[in-house]
Amino acid sequence: MSRRRQRLVWLGVGLGAVFAAGALVLSALDDSLTFFYGPADLVERPDAFSRRVRLGGLVEPGSLVREGAAVRFTVTDGQVSLPVTFSGVLPDLFREGQGVVAEGRLSQDGHFAAETVLAKHDENYMPREVAEVLKQNGEWRAAR
């Protein structure tokens, strides 16, 4: 009985140590585990202009302009907005007011040249009729 007890204690101690190590590793890697930066975070970064980065945020409503195969739009986090240019096929879910992640380079004048554009879906699921009723009643909360 005491041997079982002992093994159980060792298991608990070992598991605790492994979880502590995991937490330390993850907190140390925090900055590199992020998939994209918001506009405000991106412009603060010292390496923002020197490498390919991913910019994420909402497509500002009314900002989308199509010029042939090229598109221009503004990505915002509510505080800072960055103009983005892209030429290529946009994903189906790309909409004004919806989330987007653009990968490309930021130039010194604050203009973002995207090479790929991914649509970011939010966590809300509902039928079209429900969405319309919500909009009519003014209970529509803007996507994050």
Binding site: P91, D92, T116, A119, K120
Partner: protein, 235 residues
Amino acid sequence: MEPARFVALCGRVLPFAVALAVAMLAAGLLFSLALSPADYQQGESVRIMYVHVPAAWMALFVYALVAVLGGVGLAFGHALAFHAARAAAPLGAAFALLCLVSGSLWGKPMWGAWWVWDARLTSMLLLFFLYLGQIALSGAFDRQARGDRAAAVLALVGCVNLPVVKFSVDWWHTLHQPASVFKFGGPSIDPSMLLPLLLMAGAFKAVFFALWLIRTRTAVAASRVAAARLAGGAR
């Protein structure tokens, strides 16, 4: 529980488990494919969710189960716990693979990419590899008991990844959207879509339970054959 008693009990429970799995899967598929509405943004593609999300939940649940069984086996030396862990691991790996493949098929039309290396997708892939490592390790020794113990240690260590998979969407910016069902403030998913999702989650659980019983019974039988061979001096 003694393996012999388990086999007897299994014979009585199994017909009900199989019937439940078939009934729940039929109801779940009916609701998710036919009776539920299309999404206001995603259209019909949202139906992939009814396979993708239950598969992801099961992949996490089964991993935790394998780790607990491994821990019980290590601490108390129960043979049945190891048999049950060995039976569950490949099922969990199948759920993880189903989650990855269905997610990839969903990501291409919605996000515009089959795969991205964000924290959620990467930690889920790691979970799948942990399953593969666990399965390989359990079969890597001449003596099964040794393989069981090694695999149990790996399963316990790999548990670190479970909260990372679940909370990756909250801890870091990811392309994958945050949780819709298990979160503060209640689900952000319409009841007409939550019902088929929960039905399918129940169906996946029932299917797993039935297959797990069958596989555990087989593992008990296989260990008896191995023991008899050893005693009889075969080979």
